[in-house]
């Protein structure tokens, strides 16, 4: 690791169970993680996996049954100063007053998060400009489009310049264009040094945005790692060789004797990597179009770690 370590969030062994209708639900059963400045971490999990509960415990909103949270070394459940460093946009709840304008919302919530009136006004102007909402400064939140509302929500979450931003399902319910804008924003914020933790059940969002992914299932972390490493770890050992035209019958037989298979012009070698050269030799000197290692995408990783039994049978 050459990146300078600047730990913004540290959560250790978080547990939370809820009682509802006399039943006990383990919402989160031991989640630990750290997040550094400039990093985007995606919490990936299906409905009920415990993502929102984790975010609420990290933001000081819900008290964990066990475990600790530190934001820049401070416990948000004990020390109100920690809250000045956290921005939260929760799913399903709002951080906007429908009847207040964009400007009024930003100014009000700025003060609520500990800014002075003047600081809040300045931040409101800056954020409206940055989120391209300046021409909507005097529009009531209820009259903005869904995408603009979401942008304003994120702006409100950022009004006090927190070092940690927690986003719960930030692209849910947005049209493609608005979702794209939100993604761009998240990338920018991270590049400016903000630590971002976002939850999503949309795998493509996680794959596009996150440096690291944490897959949550039944309140536990079932897989965690740098996005690329995780994809590589769960990728098959398989290689696909694309030929310009289908191999002759004789070549097919020698390929099959090596353990490779072919369909039309596409030859598949199930691995390992060293054996690939034997296959290429058997193909020489046919013109190749490409040689590629099969890559998993997060959907496959997700399915493998959350329900191995439901995985489709190996292709090829």
């Amino acid at each position: 690791m050459t990146r300078p370590r600047a730990e913004v969030l540290h959560a250790e062994a978080l547990h939370k169970r809820y009682r509802s209708d006399g039943r006990e639900v383990v919402a989160v059963g031991g989640v630990s993680l750290t997040l550094e400045a400039g990093e985007v971490l995606a919490f990936l999990g299906s409905n009920g996996a415990g993502k929102t509960t984790c975010i609420k415990m990290m933001s000081g909103l819900v008290r964990p049954d066990a475990g600790t949270v530190r934001v820049l070394g401070r416990d948000p459940h004990q020390d109100a100063r920690a809250l000045t460093q956290v921005g939260v946009v929760l799913e399903g709840t709002r951080n906007l007053y429908w009847r207040l304008t964009s400007q009024e919302n930003l100014e009000y919530f700025g003060v609520l998060r500990g800014l002075s009136g003047r600081q809040a006004r300045r931040r409101a102007t800056v954020l409206l400009e940055r989120f391209r909402l300046s021409d909507r400064a005097r529009t009531q939140a209820q009259e903005l489009s869904r995408g603009m509302q979401q942008k304003l929500s994120i702006a409100v979450g950022l009004v006090h310049e927190p070092r940690l931003l927690l986003l719960d399902e930030p692209t849910l319910g947005l049209d493609v264009e608005a979702a794209e804008e939100v993604k761009v924003l998240v990338r920018e914020l991270a590049s400016e040094g903000c630590a971002v933790l976002l939850t999503t059940h949309q795998l493509d969002v996680a794959q596009e945005l996150a440096h690291r992914v944490c897959i949550l299932h039944g309140g536990r972390v079932v897989a965690e790692g740098e996005t690329q490493a995780l994809l590589a770890r769960f990728s098959a050992q398989r290689y696909v060789i694309q030929l310009e035209e289908p191999p002759s019958h004789a070549r097919l037989q020698s390929l099959q004797s090596l353990g490779a298979s072919a369909q039309g012009g596409e030859v598949t070698w199930p691995g390992p990597a060293e054996g690939l050269y034997g296959v290429l030799q058997a193909l020489a000197p046919l013109p190749l179009l490409r040689v590629e290692r099969d890559r998993a995408d997060l959907t496959e990783v997700f399915l493998k770690v959350t329900r191995p039994e439901a995985l489709p049978p190996e292709r090829g």
């Binding site: 929760l90 709002r94 007053y97 207040l100 304008t101 609520l112 500990g114």
Partner: protein
């Protein structure tokens, strides 16, 4: 804290003037209320005011007392309920000030807006009709003690609203309790009555106002101290109960309407 108060004031004001139709309706009905008070129509002043004597200044003080006490009593409860319904409640829990201080400044700001409107309307009518009121300045601090106790009860109701999410009928019923507290003449009922009258929320302040307005008694320091202690004690108790409710919802995660 000061900044938060200004922000709440701005928020109250922005919401107030956002709906000119509602503002006009409210101003017109206020003007009507005051005009009827001027003509001596007692019942419009709210059920509490008759006890403050039947002179104009008694009726008007009674009306003010009734307005600020009901707003104080219901303000936090309605706010919690409204924020829960809009989905913004959690944001107040994310503030470093914490929800109790936010709601306290909010009811204070709402009170300022409400008083501003009431006094403007009243002042204009006095100017136009050329009448004057003979009010002792002691009325104001006594009114403050009543407001403090009303806020205390309001926070207790607010705590209940936090846990139950919707308590509209309780909030409406609470006005009858308020009526009982403000109008019962404990001071006429011997020693026991005097004790109860000192301890019951809002009671000592209301009794003082009755003495001053209906019987023209001067404000005794000892009575005022009792009323102040009463107001502070009930406010403290209400904030404590609210705090317990806050802890409960943070534990049970019951903030988002589960």
């Amino acid at each position: 804290m000061h900044g938060l108060f200004l922000a709440e004031l701005r928020r109250s004001w922005a919401l107030f003037r956002r709906y000119p139709g509602e503002v006009v309706t409210m101003l017109v009905s206020l003007v009507l209320v005051f005009l009827m008070l001027f003509w001596g129509v007692r019942y419009v002043a709210g059920p509490g005011s008759g006890a403050l004597g039947d002179r104009l200044d008694g009726l008007i003080v009674g009306y003010f007392l009734w307005s600020v006490a009901t707003l104080g009593l219901n303000g936090v409860g309605w706010a919690v309920q409204g924020e829960a319904a809009m989905g913004t409640l959690e944001q107040l829990f994310l503030s470093p000030f914490g929800p109790a201080r936010v709601f306290l400044t909010r009811v204070a700001a709402d009170l300022v807006v409400q008083l501003g409107v009431l006094l403007t309307v009243l002042g204009s009518i006095l100017l136009i009709t050329g009448r004057t009121l003979a009010l002792s300045p002691g009325v104001v601090p006594v009114m403050v003690t009543v407001v403090l106790a009303a806020w205390g009860l309001g926070f207790a109701l607010g705590g209940l609203a936090l846990r139950l999410k919707r308590i509209p009928s309780l909030l409406q019923l609470s006005q009858y309790g308020l009526l009982f507290l403000v109008t019962t003449p404990w001071e006429d009922w011997g020693d026991t009555g005097r004790w109860v009258g000192a301890v019951a929320p809002l009671a000592p302040g209301a009794a003082l106002l009755r003495g001053m307005m209906a019987r023209g008694e001067p404000l005794e320091l000892a009575d005022f101290v009792i009323a102040t202690l009463n107001g502070l004690a009930w406010l403290g108790l209400g904030l404590f109960l609210f705090h317990l409710a806050e802890r409960h919802v943070r534990r049970g995660g019951g903030l988002a309407g589960y």
